[in-house]
């Protein structure tokens, strides 16, 4: 009880500090810096999205997969034939798994399922899709199950590793919306002829563990490690010099200062070591000297090299959220990416009821829309994590 109360008071003081922190005053030295022009920010965002995942993440996946595989191969009857890799809801776990395992398990037959799969309009159809993809041919009655191939045999049959990069598209929080997950967990545990690697976000995993005890079936998990300042510096090093081609003029070279160790430590601290959040915060800290811009605030046409300096990283402020906003953001973080109609179905609301709040949250920058898909902006994730946790929501690991 005392521990609970002290935890509550600590959270309250943290929340108050976060809420009432004095905004830094704009000093004269700050005034000499200007935000990047929108075109350059957009180009840098594309470059960021094309970056390979951080090495500590791919290494952690490779090491954990190798260990889990060896343990299963040594004792296929008792050791779980599955490894679940957990990431934050704003990390693209499918890309990390692909980068980590595609060309790594050369002595295994690696198969990726549901690459780029999106939740179908009828969310209850997921189970059918899983059946069609995973078990296209139903074994007839009386057929003996295949013997597990755990070692390369004389016929050169290699052990098979099946990878499902992301679980989130396979469920929706509605009645019978996680039948697909129940099918999958039964399928994986019954079919011990191959090894499975599954990606999922922490929040979805915590939810699924509550509603269908997925952790009891797929018990071995790996949480992607938090990144340190040095890890972030190494990961974003390719961004130190970016060449942007221009249609009419010579290419524009962006030189981004990267040698300040305290900056990277501060970035790791405010992003809680979350790679995607850190990348977007890094982008938001980039400034150019106002003197480099033309008087109208645009880039001079003859400029060929632009010096960019990262300023002190800080989390963007969070708007005052209504109760519906919190439910909406929780649903978004739970499902990773989701369409508006699925969001409405999951929340038990009419679509037109949530449309206005989605618009407000988009305008405030909390939600991004890519095509029909809505996601939470990674830069807001740390504050949303605290906000939803303090509002009694079931949340996963940060």
């Amino acid at each position: 009880m005392t521990k609970q109360l002290s935890g509550l008071w600590r959270s309250l003081s943290q929340w108050l500090t976060q809420q009432w922190a004095v905004a830094p005053t704009v000093t004269e030295s700050e005034e000499q810096w200007a935000a990047l022009p929108a075109g350059i920010t957009q180009a840098l965002t594309q470059q960021l999205q094309a970056l390979p995942p951080p090495v500590p993440h791919t290494t952690a996946i490779q090491v954990a997969t190798r260990e889990a595989l060896q343990a299963w191969q040594a004792n296929p009857e008792t050791v779980s034939n599955c490894l679940v890799v957990l990431a934050s809801p704003v990390d693209a776990i499918d890309l990390v798994l692909k980068a980590g395992l595609q060309d790594y398990l050369l002595d295994y037959e690696v198969r990726f399922f549901f690459g780029g799969y999106h939740r179908p309009p009828n969310a209850l159809a997921v189970t059918g899709h899983l059946q069609r993809e995973l078990a296209p041919e139903q074994p007839s009655e009386g057929t003996k199950p295949a013997m597990p191939v755990t070692q390369t045999d004389l016929h050169d049959s290699r052990p098979q590793v099946n990878i499902i990069p992301s679980l989130e598209p396979c469920f929706l929080r509605c009645i019978q919306g996680w039948q697909g997950i129940e099918y999958l967990q039964n399928f994986v545990t019954q079919d011990d002829s191959c090894f499975w690697v599954v990606g999922c976000n922490h929040w979805a995993w915590t939810f699924l563990d509550k509603v269908c005890q997925v952790g009891a079936y797929l018990e071995r998990t790996l949480a992607l490690p938090q990144l340190s300042g040095d890890d972030l510096a190494d990961w974003l090093r390719p961004m130190a010099e970016v060449v942007l081609p221009r249609e009419s003029d010579a290419a524009l070279t962006l030189k981004i200062a990267q040698d300040d160790a305290t900056y990277w430590e501060a970035l790791a601290s405010v992003s809680a070591g979350n790679a995607t959040t850190a990348a977007y915060l890094w982008l938001q800290t980039l400034r150019i000297e106002a003197a480099q811009l033309a008087p109208d605030g645009t880039l001079p046409p003859d400029i060929s090299c632009l010096e960019i300096t990262p300023r002190k990283p800080k989390l963007p402020s969070l708007m005052s959220l209504e109760a519906l906003d919190r439910y909406l953001l929780h649903a978004l973080l739970l499902h990773g990416e989701i369409t508006r109609s699925h969001l409405a179905l999951s929340m038990g609301e009419d679509e037109r009821m949530i449309r206005s709040r989605v618009q407000v949250l988009r305008r405030e920058g909390l939600i991004r829309q890519t095509g029909r898909w809505l996601t939470v902006h990674p830069a807001h994730y740390p504050k949303l994590y605290t906000e939803l946790g303090n509002n009694n929501f079931l949340i996963g690991q940060a």
Partner: protein
């Protein structure tokens, strides 16, 4: 019988007489009167400020902290009152042991006749405060009234009912009335929602739909258990879905959401509802009245 002479002697000591009244009260001056007025004004201001500030701030902070702030209100108010009373006594009374005894005896006799119910309410309020049978922010049923405790005053407690009425209940009612507390200082309170299906319905399916309705509702506190209880009635099978919303304030919205989800799913699976007529209908009406 032998104790009576001692009591009589004690009464002689404690009842103030004309000779010792000077010693009991301090000299009344404009200065002390001004101090007393200032003390009362400050105490009143502080009590009002505590009520307004905590009400405003508790509705702005995240849910987790709302009840902590609300629960501190009665104690803060009691502290202010205590300090104000001590200050007033200090201004007008010489605070020796025998003086205080004499004064409290006199006040008790006077108030006992004039403000019996008022004093009874104040004492009941203090006792309830320390018994902790309910706190600010709890959802309680006192007698026929159900609602959230929104104010804990010196004499009364105020409930806000689901219809947004405010019910004032004197503390002395609590001496005799049972108090049912739904959440006891926690954010969550169990909500029980009844569903009825025909006897021939697939109960395994309906029970599973109820579990999934609770798990899929945005209001559900998934850290707490969800339970479905089935009972046979003469006219139907009754299923009780017991689950907790994340915030007890949402209990009616939560029930609405659960009913909507379950009815949609039952329609999809063609779950039969009870067909009532004649005696069965009368029995059902009687049961719902219970």
């Amino acid at each position: 019988m032998t104790v009576f002479p001692h009591l009589w002697l004690l009464a002689q000591d404690t009842v103030p007489t004309a000779e010792n009244l000077d010693a009991l009260f301090k000299e009344l001056t404009w200065r002390s009167l001004a101090h007393a007025g200032l003390t009362v004004a400050i105490a009143y201001g502080l009590l009002t400020a505590i009520q307004s500030f905590t009400t405003a701030i508790s509705e702005k902070v995240p849910r987790r902290f709302r009840l902590i702030i609300k629960q501190s209100v009665p104690f803060l108010k009691a502290l202010v009152l205590l300090v104000a009373i001590v200050r007033l006594l200090h201004l007008f009374v010489n605070p020796t042991g025998s003086n205080l005894l004499a004064l409290t005896g006199t006040i008790a006799v006077a108030l006992g006749f004039a403000f019996k119910d008022y004093i009874s309410s104040i004492i009941a309020g203090i006792v309830t405060l320390f018994e902790g049978s309910f706190r600010m922010g709890d959802r309680v049923r006192i007698g026929d009234h159900y609602g959230e405790v929104v104010n804990y005053g010196l004499r009364e407690v105020r409930l806000r009912t689901p219809n947004d009425d405010t019910v004032t209940i004197p503390h002395n009612t609590l001496w005799n009335e049972p108090i049912a507390n739904a959440n006891s200082g926690q954010l969550e309170a169990q909500v029980v929602t009844d569903f009825y299906v025909a006897h021939e319905a697939d109960l395994e399916l309906v029970s599973e739909l109820l579990y999934q309705a609770a798990y899929s509702s945005r209001y559900t506190q998934l850290k707490l258990p969800v339970v479905v209880v089935i009972q046979e009635k003469a006219w139907a099978t009754q299923l009780k879905l017991k689950a907790y919303p994340m915030d007890a304030r949402d209990e009616f919205l939560y029930q609405t959401d659960l009913v909507l989800r379950v009815k949609q799913a039952c329609a999809r699976h063609h779950v039969p509802y009870p067909q009532m007529g004649g005696a069965a209908a009368a029995e059902a009406v009687g049961a719902s009245g219970e």
